[in-house]
Amino acid sequence: MRWIWIDKFIEFESGRRAVALKNVTLAEEHLHDHFPGYPIMPESLCIEAMAQTAGILVGEAAKFQEKVILAKIKKAVFFDCIKPGDTLKLEAVIESFAPEAAGTAGKVTCGEKLLAEIDLMFSHIDQNLAGKEFPEENFVFNTGTSVFESLLRDVLSRAGQKAEQT
């Protein structure tokens, strides 16, 4: 099982920008402990959700040929709590891209409300630690990208329809 904190992508511009949705629900068990009687989504998991949104954007920009890892949280500022019933919109934009790494800027909103700003850096690990070997299963973009295909299904089918129309 993969640890996935986004439900689907609704926009995806290769190499530039991606928008994902995450529906927060009381069916998520950890919310009952965080905190009893006052369920809010842990901010660390919100950062993880942004890391997945931005990480897939960065991975796709290199056609999933690089091992992409989260290398640095440049900024993570939260303006309000995230509660069950919230539909989070996670928008990530690639700000800089180099052979060995990429930087992204991100916003998390719910409706019109800005909940968080999360800027990240990702490392293309093979370009930085050449020759060092890592277990394949540590990486997301190897054999089983099927999970991501399901996340991207909406945007992919829309892209397909557009292609048919033209």
């Binding site: 800089s96 180099a98 850096m121 490392s123 930085n128």
Partner: protein, 131 residues
């Protein structure tokens, strides 16, 4: 448009405060990025990206932080120290850095100390003036 050295110093300080989460009074001209300011390898790239944005210029990483890929060449490094050839190579790659102190004992563990705030300011200044 000419940018004064003071202005460059101030902007470089801002970049380092943001990238490394340090206080502005820690970012002195002599401060070393790794030793004094606690920079790690990914921070060097972050700094490069931020400098590119701040000064609207393209910075090849090996130009600003050129010592990183010297480490693997046995002709340039012997017993953990840079050889004469290695030093010559370093001088050529880091024209904007004063190497006289390092040359007395060219231990590769001290390479990190060469990356100072002042070296970044010099680099940016040369680059802006050349443009």
């Amino acid at each position: 448009m000419a940018v004064s050295r003071d202005e460059i110093v101030q902007k470089v300080q801002e970049v380092l405060v943001d990238a490394l989460g340090v206080d502005d009074d820690e970012v002195t001209i002599e401060a070393t990025l790794m030793g004094d300011l606690g920079a790690e390898s990914i921070d060097f790239l972050d700094i490069v990206f931020r400098l590119e944005k701040t000064f609207s210029m393209k910075i090849p990483r090996e130009e600003l932080f050129p010592a990183e890929n010297l480490m693997t060449d046995s002709e340039l490094i012997h017993n953990g120290k840079l050889t004469e050839k290695g030093l010559a190579e370093l001088r050529q790659r880091m024209p904007h850095t004063d190497l006289s102190e390092f040359e007395k004992d060219p231990d590769i563990n001290k390479l990190g100390d060469l990356f100072t705030v002042g070296a970044i300011v010099n680099y940016v200044e040369n680059k802006l003036n050349a443009a």
